[in-house]
């Protein structure tokens, strides 16, 4: 579980996060949504420890990040997996080497143990025959799956994903969404996903946090988001005709 308490972050004079308090539950897919410029990416980077913040605190299973020693922070980071928007695979390494990288950095496993674990996770993301390919030879969907494999290879407690579906066709996007949800359930990890994709919101949003202008505007789930009367949320989520119709049908069916 990740608990965020009154988080403030500024860049110079610009106040980006204005006191966010929320929590992300273990074993659930937690989604952060909001318009461009609402502070989602800054919030995610604060959660990852990539940005330092001025006020507030973030605790990971009870451990407050800012109170940890350098070694404890490194240990905590080894328990985090991250799927970047552009996958962020290392160009100079093969797919298998990319996936093995966190094991080489954080564990003292033998080469054969590491290879076994790499085979296991590549099989888990349906890429058992892609070991020796370079990232540039893989499609966008394959790259995302490699990024997920790299993020979970070290059995993390926390999985963060920054717009995992961006640039993917709808079918591949659903595959990626389902994969993330299955991994979250299977390994009982805390997953936080930053997304613009309303399909993901409806499909896998077990907890949804809606940010507006650096503030927490609303939080709920994929069930309660259909019933919310919050104008900012409905304007954002139901901005397309398709989703307005879906909502109407849902409300009629569940009167």
């Amino acid at each position: 579980m990740i608990e965020v308490n009154s988080l403030h972050k500024s860049f110079g004079e610009t106040h980006i996060l204005k006191g966010i308090t929320t929590s992300f539950e273990k074993g659930k897919t937690n989604l952060i949504i909001g318009q461009s410029g609402s502070g989602k990416t800054v919030f995610l980077k604060c959660l990852l420890g990539l940005f330092e913040f001025e006020k507030g605190s973030i605790s990971y299973e009870g451990k407050i990040f800012s109170n940890l020693t350098r070694n404890e922070k490194t240990n905590l980071r080894s328990e985090m997996g991250m799927v970047f928007q552009g996958s962020a695979l290392f160009d100079s390494m093969t797919i298998a080497e990319n996936v093995m990288f966190p094991l080489r950095m954080f564990t003292k496993q033998s080469k054969s143990e590491m290879e076994d674990r790499v085979n296991e996770v590549l099989q888990r993301v349906n890429l058992e025959n892609a070991h020796n390919k370079m990232p540039s030879e893989a499609s966008g969907g394959m790259q995302k799956r490699v990024a997920i494999a790299r993020a979970i290879v070290n059995k993390p407690k926390f999985l963060f994903c920054d717009e995992p579906n961006s640039g993917l066709d709808p079918r591949t996007a659903i595959v990626i969404d389902n994969l993330i949800q299955e991994i979250t359930d299977e390994f009982n990890i805390t997953t936080v996903i930053n997304t613009h994709d309303m399909n993901s919101v409806m499909e896998i949003g077990e907890k949804i946090v809606f940010l507006k202008d650096g503030l927490l505007e609303w939080e709920g789930s994929s069930e309660t988001i259909f019933r919310t009367e919050n104008e900012a949320v409905t304007n954002f989520v139901y901005s397309s005709n398709l989703f307005r119709k879906v909502r109407k049908m849902y409300l009629e069916e569940n009167k």
């Binding site: 990852l48 420890g49 990539l50 922070k73 490194t74 980071r77 080894s78 985090m80 991250m82 970047f84 928007q85 552009g86 962020a88 695979l89 290392f90 160009d91 100079s92 990288f101 966190p102 950095m105 954080f106 963060f160």
Partner: protein, 219 residues
Amino acid sequence: MKPLILKDIDDLIIGSLGIVAFISFFVGGVVAIQTSLNMTSPIMPKYLVGFATRQSIILEFAPTFISIIMAGKVGSFITSSIGTMRVTEQIDALEVMGINGINYLVFPKFIALTLYPFVISIAMFLGILGGLIACVYGGYGTMEDYIEGVQLDFTPFHFIYAFIKTFVFAFLLATIPSYYGYFMKGGALEVGKASTTSFVWTSVMIILVNFLLTSLLLG
């Protein structure tokens, strides 16, 4: 770390040998021809062609001008490779894993470039050889005269001076381009701009440090 250092030795040192050899050989030849053509007085000894070529190559051409060429080749490579990693969030990925990006990316390049004097030694040898071949086969002098000039008034300190400069330039070649790559912001266009800026500043620093070291060591 060892595979990274070996990869950087391959990319930065071994990968530069071809262009350094080519340029050194032909510039050495041009220096010999120009020296010969400008020695119009009949009382000037023919061995001066070898002497002038040796001095030009060892003191300035090999350490300084090859370093400026390397600022273009190696410096741009370092800036663009690290800059691309920044743009594509690969450096963020390292930091999320708790890996110090500077240590992981810059340190191996720094170690690889400690072999830079090896490149400069080859440039010196091939420059002088190029001068010899241009002089003899171009009909500007005999092999005996050229070799006599190369051996004339040999001062070992000139080699020490050249290699001190080479080590300092290697440090500049590793650090300035890495800085521009690591701390760049933006997208693909900015990677190109960062590479150009890093080349300009590395060259400027090489020229300034060359002036300073020459004043200190030979002045």
